[in-house]
Amino acid sequence: MADIPYKDKGSLLNPLKALQFFARPPVTEPLEPRPASANYRGFHLNDWEKCIGCGTCQKVCDNAAITMVRIPGLPADPAQGIRDQRPAIDYGRCCWCGLCVDICPTASLALSREYVHTCTDAELDSYFVLPDPNGMHGRYYGHGWSKSADSDLVDLQRQAMGELEPSARGDNFREIVAGYDDQQALLEASRCVQCGMCFDACPTHMHAPEYIRAIWEGRVEDAVRWIYRTNPFAHVCGRVCTHRCEEACSLGHRGEPIAIRWLKRYAMDALPPERVKAIAAEGRVATPSGRRVAIVGSGPAGLTAAFDLAKRGHAVTVFEGLPEPGGMPRYGIPEYRLPYARLDQDIDVIRSVGVDIRCSTWVGTDITLEELRRDFDAVVLALGLQFGRSTRIPNSDHPQVRKAVTLLRQATAGEAFGTPRSAVVIGGGNVAMDIARTLARLQRREYGAARVTVTALEARSHFLADAIEVLEAAEEEIEILDARGPRECVVDGAGNLVGLRSWRVKSIFDAQGRFAPVYDESDERLHEAEMVVEAIGQVADTALLGEALTERLEWRRGRLRVDADGRTSEPWLWAAGDMVNGPDVVHAVADGHRVAAGIHAWLEQRESVQ
């Protein structure tokens, strides 16, 4: 008590000490509304341009104060991960803790410096607000508690994926991507806020939120179970899918999206094949239906349809012309992206539910479509797009001018095609990168050095190939020249191909958006090479249909026309996959499900052929 001036007795004069207050200025509080601090946690603001309607705010709210409301007229684009929903907040429940602001993936939510609202009991509806940028009462009081780097509750960085260095992968086909280990998968899976944008964006609506959650909870078997509900090609998709899910991921708006594809790969790689087969077979109908379905083509579309139909008890036979099943994933995608063993695992599972795959059997020659029509209740065409298009520039029919898809098939089959010491690839899509990088590897193996040039019409930033493919190709010392249009395959006097002549591209599309490239002929280059490879697109080989059927069927812009179920104009004939939709693995899987569902429904009501 040493510092307190205490006296044990009072004094009559003590109260007079109060007189000093007359000399002091009074405490004055202004009558105007008092502005809140810069960090104040007042009423909500929501920037509707940034808000994607993911609902993560709703999930973190500890008072169950947030309701998601769909507002017609707002942009909704599942492919971009944008919903036409916005959060509405019940101020009878909200405690203005600001966790919603800190976790908002797009930083659209903030708390303002407004803090006064009064109403009568009859006006209680005013407690339920739909925050917008203007403030609760239409007047902006300034931003208070907003997203800040210190306090962001979402982890914007993904777990780094290990990859083979360029020096280690230049001359071999070893898989480049290492895959996540358990710890990385757990950490990556924990970043997910379970908004479901990925589900909406996926062509086959894979249950990504569910299998990500299962991985996080250590339930890998459940993850695989969720995966098999929509995708029997998950070893493949877990490596080479075009990951629309990741484009839509809400974390991708400000940071790196969840590595959904790598997590799918992790789950599939984690289980022994026998467990995967057991899980895939769950729900398989025990008694045969007595119906038979023929499927032409053992790619993702054909085999997915086969998987679904076989599980429903139908007898499915798949006819594959090439020696091995798998279609484009095997014969088009190089092994450094998709090892054959993994594709084999997916196909093995499909076989194990009772699908009969007959390889080296060409429909059209070894067996006719008519026979299939006669012997089966339904026939599915899943031919893929096996033929490469030609640029039809002068000398493009020279023997040293090849198609990328042909070379890729030969490379897979181990057939020698005369690896050129130098090559020019025409095209800027994934196939162009695939063949360029395959040729480079073969060249290094056979000659010790790679010389591959890629020329594409598009500017580098607009290449149709995945950015990572272009990046890795450049790392592997492939020369990539953008905005160059192919003019002529140059042949010397002795009839040997010496290279490709190209002009600089000034524009690709005309004012109406039609394909009409314009060149700068003064900027001409000769790319010397022993081989020119065309990778400018693919078409299906529908010769097996025969003239009469081809006449009868309906076509649209060169492709078979099918209805919403995937059925052609012939009631017994269905078509699915790349030949209908254009090249994309996961679309093909979705298509396979589609025709299988359609066929199954149809068969349920029909008499069997036999």
């Binding site: 708390l111 306090s151 899976a189 924990s190």
Partner: protein, 380 residues
């Protein structure tokens, strides 16, 4: 209990009667009740009656994610919410093996001590009011408001700061904040002579408070008393010194004690603690600009965050005494059990009953306020 459920007891004709003291009574700190049996002005016995502020927090916390509970815990002790936030965060951090960055620890001490000052000012005000000295009450609340301004600037909220998060704090201190803190401390220090004149050394108050609600150190220890109430009986136990947490071991401060154990001694202990808290805050203000680094250890996505299984007992010295949290995790994303041990659990019940048992009616309110018995942390 609701007044309509109250049944008066029939006494034989005598001077004895029962008084239901509370629950919305200016002489009761918070919402609480005492069922007092009186013989004239003399208390014969007293029974505490709580539950008016029971919000079921311990059960609520079991149903919420680890991070969601930071919004619940400050509400458990209304006048001094920061120790609740810090104690919960410390428990989660210990369970999760999370190391709080140094800068965050210093900021936490800043908050804790400012909250202590604010809570003591509030208590002085309340205590003064129970002896009819309302000017002091207005002063206490008004001066506390200046500290609430500081909290508003720091955390966006005046009373419930929701500022501590497992791993650290949610925002860094604003620019110029430390100058404003210093100015506020200077102001409060300059007011202490006024408080002394009007209240602490004012004979009107001293005569009222001396000898009231006295307990000996033995009684205090027996009844589980902690905090300023215990220090007023001569035992210098302070969790900051004896079970240190954050950066208190790097700070210089005294633990004031008194000997008499009565209402006046408890008040004086708090008065001196206020000075010590100011001293601590000044040290923090000087040190903080030199402590760089992050204000938060990163935690996983709160929607997908499991803590390892285990149990912890964390303690913090709040303005009322020893505050402790016992948290059990079974490896999930929500607590399995959270037990909040508020210091007033002892003070507001047993101690209050024992001390008022020999008091006079006019002193009951003063005893409760001098104990700084805070019902929200009894009821949770």
């Amino acid at each position: 209990m609701r007044p309509e459920n109250y049944e008066a007891v029939n006494h034989p004709p005598s001077n004895e009667f029962e008084l239901f003291f509370g629950p919305n009574h200016p002489g009761i700190e918070g919402n609480y009740a005492l069922k007092v049996k009186l013989n004239g002005d003399q208390v014969v016995s007293a029974r505490a009656d709580g539950g008016y502020l029971h919000r079921g927090f311990e059960k609520l916390m079991e149903g919420r994610l680890w991070i969601q509970n930071i919004a619940l815990v400050p509400r458990i002790c209304v006048p001094d919410p920061v120790p609740m936030e810090v104690c919960y965060s410390l428990a989660v951090e210990e369970l999760g093996g999370i190391t709080v960055p140094e800068r965050a620890q210093w900021i936490r001490v800043l908050q804790l001590e400012l909250s202590r000052i604010a809570a003591h000012l509030f208590t002085f005000g309340g205590h003064a009011a129970t002896t009819g000295m309302y000017s002091n009450m207005y002063w206490g609340v008004a001066d506390r408001d200046q500290i609430l301004d500081l909290f508003e600037e720091l955390s966006g909220g005046r009373v419930y700061h929701i500022y501590n998060i497992p791993g650290g704090v949610r925002r860094d201190i604003p620019t110029g904040y430390l100058e404003r803190v210093t100015r506020t401390l200077d102001y409060i220090e300059s007011r202490l002579p006024d408080y002394d004149n009007l209240f602490f050394t004012n004979q009107v108050f001293v005569q009222r408070a001396r000898g009231i609600g006295a307990m000996s150190q033995e009684q205090a220890l027996e009844w589980g008393v902690t905090g300023p109430n215990l220090r007023a009986t001569g035992l210098a136990f302070d969790v900051r010194r004896d079970d240190p947490y954050l950066v208190y071991d790097q700070l210089e401060f005294d633990i004031p004690i008194e000997q008499a154990g009565d209402a006046w001694a408890r008040t004086l202990v708090r008065r001196q603690e206020l000075v010590q808290s100011i001293r601590i805050v000044r040290q923090v203000v000087e040190r903080l600009p030199h402590v760089g680094g992050p204000i938060r250890a990163l935690i996983p996505n709160p929607l997908a965050w499991n803590l390892p299984a285990g149990e912890v007992y964390t303690r913090v010295e709040s303005s009322k005494g020893e505050l402790a949290y016992y948290v059990v995790s079974t490896g999930g994303d929500k607590p399995y059990r959270v037990h909040v041990r508020g210091p007033s659990a002892m003070h507001a019940v047993q101690v209050l009953e024992n001390l008022t048992a020999h008091a006079r009616l006019e002193d009951i309110a003063q005893i409760m306020f001098s104990l700084d018995a805070c019902p929200p942390e009894v009821d949770r």
